[in-house]
Amino acid sequence: MSLFFSIREGIANFRRARFAAFASTMAMAVALLMLGTLALLGLEAQQVLSWLQQRVGEMEVFVAESATESEAEALFSRIQTHPQVTSAEYISKEQAQAIFQEEFGEGAESFIDEPFLPASVRLQVRAPFVQTDSLSQLQADLQTWDHVDEVVFNQPLLNTVQQNIRLAGSIGAAVGGIILIAALFLVGNTIRLTIYARRLLIRTMKLVGATDGFIRRPFLVEGALQGMLAGMLAGGGLWALYRGALSYFPQMAGLAPNIEWMLLGGTIITGIVLGWVGSFMAVRRFINRVELH
């Protein structure tokens, strides 16, 4: 019965104090939109990061001139099965010649007589191993293998990318932290004001002998309802923002449909939790402080 009363009161409070409910809901929606945008940017940045890591995590193993074709193929097979390698591609002398001609353009015909470039294996290193130390170690390891002439990777580019990733990560974390604190502050204060506006209700409940848990419950129901509504508003806004960004910047990586749904669901769930926790803290503080006289 008391639970039914709490739910009924929670819904009724929403109706009774429309402006306060509207203010809380909008504050939460804005906070969630900010957090959602941050999450969206984070996901997009993660995609760019993994693309970048793939690009710089490329290594080329040149096959020794003395190696026969079958030995070169055996080397390719061995590299493919290496635990740190995610994919590998064998480039024969002829393919290397063709790539050279394509990239060199005019004047490349003068080298056309005979393939002069060595065969090679171009490999992608698994993302966790795309670090200067790991790549240097892998380079040294591969260098000792039979029929390997030389192993190269773009170390200066890797260093630059890693430095920039660290910098971007620190800036992102700082901005994210500020936004999170601002969002919690905004929501906490708005809910506190909403509950302050109901001090007579809380005082009356305390006066007639309602327990603290009982006083809290309708506010929690109301907070969760407001959070759910705010989550739906923010989720819708976020989705529209994301779709708009995709149409303006088609080069964006884009999220998988299930990630989009998870983001929307996550925003609503975060809204419910935010409303619940915010109301819990505000009403607990108020119950303890309010004087009946």
């Binding site: 008391s2 007579l200 009356t204 006066l207």
Partner: protein, 227 residues
């Protein structure tokens, strides 16, 4: 039974100053007794009442209401004490967005009563204060006296054994104040313990009862006829 045992109590005035209202005071109120607590504004009448519904605690000594002692009660027990005590204030403190019926029913729901019982008790309480016919009206549709009757109905809906009234007629004109006082005395005649803080000596003389006055930080018994 209500006990005040060696109570020293103070409160913080609106200007932040700490004021001692009583020192080493002891007195009892018997069950089903009626008593007035008189004294000028700021003398500490409200502070003494607040110590009974445990909204304020003595600096020294202890109050006891039924089985609950101020020096032994836990925070979680206070709501259960308040279910045994009805409280009426000068400012009515009715919820403006609920009808008279809902204001009374709310107090019962808040203590976990079931819907059927809530309806029965609410109608009984409103009938006792003579306001059942106005149960659908909202506070702003009721006169001051009627609002105070709703407050009294709310205070007695849970069948408390004691009613604490803090200047219940302070906001009412003399005729209505007499009516309200008559209603409170009727409740006392039906077996309710009544402790009422007031500075309206006219009412004390009109409905005489044991009278306790706060003077020089002490509580003394006075003859109502001498007021």
């Amino acid at each position: 039974m209500i006990h005040f045992r060696n109570i020293t109590a103070s409160y913080t005035a609106p200007n932040g100053e700490r004021r001692v209202v009583v020192e080493e005071v002891s007195f009892d109120i018997e069950r089903a007794e009626m008593a007035y607590l008189i004294g000028p504004t700021g003398s500490g009448k409200s502070t003494l009442l607040r110590m009974l519904y445990m909204d304020h605690f003595p600096d020294k000594g202890a109050t006891q209401v039924g089985d609950y002692r101020s020096d032994q009660i836990s925070d979680s027990e206070i709501p259960y004490l308040r279910r045994e005590v009805g409280v009426v204030f000068q400012d009515f403190q009715l919820l403006p967005d609920r009808s008279a019926f809902d204001n009374v029913a709310f107090a019962l729901y808040a203590t976990g009563k079931r819907k059927k019982e809530v309806r029965k008790r609410t109608i009984k309480a409103l009938t006792r204060v003579g306001l059942n016919h106005k149960r659908t009206q909202f506070p702003h549709e009721l006169s001051g006296g009627e609002q105070q009757r709703v407050v009294i109905a709310r205070a007695i809906a849970n069948d408390p054994w004691v009613l604490l009234a803090d200047e219940p007629t302070g906001n009412l004109d003399p005729a209505v104040a007499s009516d309200i006082q008559g209603l409170l005395v009727d409740l006392h005649h039906q077996g309710m313990t009544l402790l009422m803080a007031t500075h309206d000596y006219r009412l004390v003389k009109e409905y005489p009862a044991r009278t306790l006055a706060i003077m020089n930080r002490q509580v003394v018994e006075v003859d109502p006829d001498t007021l």
